[in-house]
């Protein structure tokens, strides 16, 4: 079992590294899905099958599809890849990488001081999670639902085409007429 964890971890890390270094957004997205599936595997082996399922359904399924839709609407072509190549010069990522390296070193320092290992055993099934969720965390659930509602309304509101002034206005009117 432990081996599964290490393998999944390696896959997750590698694919995530690919995510952040790809020039083509669709490639990155695919790597991202790989990464999420690997993480779902890790959840599963850690004894959280419910979460693993959600990871696959919601994250890899729904959210990533959202990305795909967005990318389709953006319709990025080859020139976008070229632009990414220009943007991703070593000079531009050297700084962030150093910064993150320092932070990571600090993480390691902290992690090295924690102890204990996972208990093994049967883990926690959906039942326990559900009981806790609708008992102790009921308010949180309500808040989360409100957040989702807000996100829905927000996304709808922001995403719709707004009439603009000047040329943009012209353009948008043209867009509308094309649709018709």
């Amino acid at each position: 079992m432990n081996t599964v964890f290490y393998i999944s971890a390696a896959v997750a890390i590698l694919s995530t590294a690919m995510v952040i270094s790809r020039l083509n957004a669709i490639h990155a997205l695919l790597y991202m899905i790989v990464s999420l599936l690997a993480v779902a595997m890790i959840f599963f082996v850690m004894g959280a099958p419910f979460i693993a399922a959600l990871e696959v359904i919601v994250y890899a399924g729904a959210i990533m599809v959202l990305f795909v839709f967005a990318m389709m609407m953006l319709n990025l072509g080859q020139e976008a890849v070229e632009r990414e190549r220009n943007w991703l010069s070593p000079a531009s990522w050297a700084g962030p990488v150093t910064l993150v390296a320092v932070l990571f070193a600090e993480f390691i320092w902290i992690v090295s001081r924690t102890g204990g290992s996972l208990p093994g055993g049967g883990g926690l099934g959906p039942k326990q999670v559900g009981i806790a969720l609708l008992g102790q965390y009921l308010v949180g659930v309500e808040l989360a639902s409100m957040l989702l509602l807000a996100g829905l309304v927000g996304a709808y509101h922001i995403g719709r085409r707004m009439p603009r002034t000047g040329e943009e206005n012209e353009a948008s009117r043209a867009g509308i007429s094309i649709k018709q």
Binding site: M32, E84, L88, S117
Partner: protein
């Protein structure tokens, strides 16, 4: 179930988190930044679930649920903004955003 030391799980989460952070800081494309944020959220979720598993409590998983909810909302709104932005400016360069302000 697995019995690896908890540090390994946390370390893995830390690596993912760092990678995500690197993506946020190094990429100029908003879309990549959004993806990287997802990576970071995911990493945080791993840490939660691992901690929950360590103490055999459901709370870690519930926190992951909340993170998931938040991520969904965030992505929805974030992508809407990106679309709108792109429609207006024709670029996804984050450095061009708000850079005109003083």
């Amino acid at each position: 179930m697995i019995t690896v030391p908890i540090e390994h799980v946390i370390l893995m989460a830390a690596i993912l988190f760092s990678l995500g952070l690197t993506g946020v800081l190094a990429r100029r494309n908003v879309l990549f930044i959004l993806l990287s944020i997802e990576v970071m959220l995911n990493a945080a979720g791993i840490a939660f679930v691992a901690a929950g598993a360590r103490w055999a409590q459901a709370d870690g998983q519930i926190m992951f649920l909340f993170i998931l909810t938040m991520a969904a909302a965030e992505v929805a709104v974030g992508l809407a903004i990106i679309l709108q932005y792109y429609r207006h400016t024709g670029t996804l360069d984050v450095d061009a955003m708000g850079g005109g302000r003083r």
